[in-house]
Symmetry: C2
Subunit: 200 residues, 2 copies
């Protein structure tokens, strides 16, 4: 893909604008007209970069999915006990969510009306299953409690992590909750693994 010299837009900056518009208006509620206005370039300039809004959606959710699946290939996600790998993956999920906030936010809002949306939901489910498998292994190794069903525990842990998109804002000093990235990662790891109750 080549970038037109006559405008300052790159596929990357166009993507970033599109993601904001998708989040604000919803993907269904966004037209090429909306994208054109938000980006300040003509529709034909957009078509110079992409075939349409669905390609922009696919690129945006791919970016989030690639980062998330990438975690599973990292050394600490592949070596050590299942409980250690799980804790590493949970911490990295929170980091990726904060680093790629708009992309992950969009991924979490995908509903499934188009082929791209259904594909994204399928990939999300696949990622959930990979993490659930780690949790299951950790329970089998005796390091994780076995009195909460694996799928239910996975849903609840993902629920806690994904809820961060609702309030974390990197442009506010230390995020909106008065929490820096490191503090959020540590808090999630402590709560997910140790819970609120003080270790006696």
């Amino acid at each position: 893909m080549t970038t037109a010299k006559r405008d300052t837009y790159t596929p990357e900056t166009l993507l970033s604008v599109a993601v904001q518009v998708f989040i604000e208006r919803g993907y269904d509620g966004t037209s090429m007209e909306h994208l054109s206005k938000a980006a300040g370039i003509s529709k034909s300039s957009i078509y110079h970069h992409v075939t349409g809004k669905e390609e922009l959606l696919r690129r945006a959710v791919s970016r989030a999915l690639d980062e998330l699946f990438g975690i599973l290939d990292e050394e600490h996600a592949r070596e050590g006990s299942a409980a250690e790998r799980l804790e590493y993956v949970v911490r990295r999920m929170v980091e990726v969510l904060m680093a790629e906030l708009p992309y992950v936010t969009l991924l979490l809002r995908v509903r499934g009306n188009t082929g791209t949306e259904r594909w994204a939901l399928e990939r999300r489910r696949e990622f959930d299953h990979r993490v659930a498998a780690l949790l299951k292994d950790a329970a089998a190794e005796g390091d994780v409690r076995a009195d909460v069903e694996v799928r239910l525990a996975t849903r609840l842990v993902f629920g806690m992590i994904n809820s961060i998109v609702e309030w974390y804002r990197p442009d506010v000093p230390d995020g909106r909750a008065g929490a820096g990235e490191r503090e959020v990662v540590d808090a999630v790891a402590r709560l997910v693994f140790g819970g609120l109750r003080k270790a006696s």
Copy 2:
């Protein structure tokens, strides 16, 4: 408020239909026309019951808020150690969320464009602060870990609980995750207080 004998609609059934439409289309995207079609009654019949869609929204979110605030007045939320009261409140929050699923779902999606929405957001914040205060007291009494900042811990715990609206469906036998109400309540309490790590 009186109910017209000429239709079978009560304010209660109209409210239940309106909540479904608000959830599906978003409050902003819902017109009286949409409500009229979904309810199968004329707009003038709707106006017989309410002044407009904002009154329906207010009634719907009030129902969720009344149930949530009601928890704080219950005996076990007022007596015992802060940690015991907190655990009681967390369990009851999950119960209320599942029992009043569409109403709580709508409450969680409120964005703040109208007076009613801003009022609902303010009431939600007030509820969050009440629970955060309990958490703070429990930490002061030494029963809850003090190494996660109270507001951050509250946000994450609420994030886990609120995420249940994304997947729990009471009309599916035992919910979509294969989890019954009691199992979900126990799972949340175990994870929030004990975490995933097996007690050694």
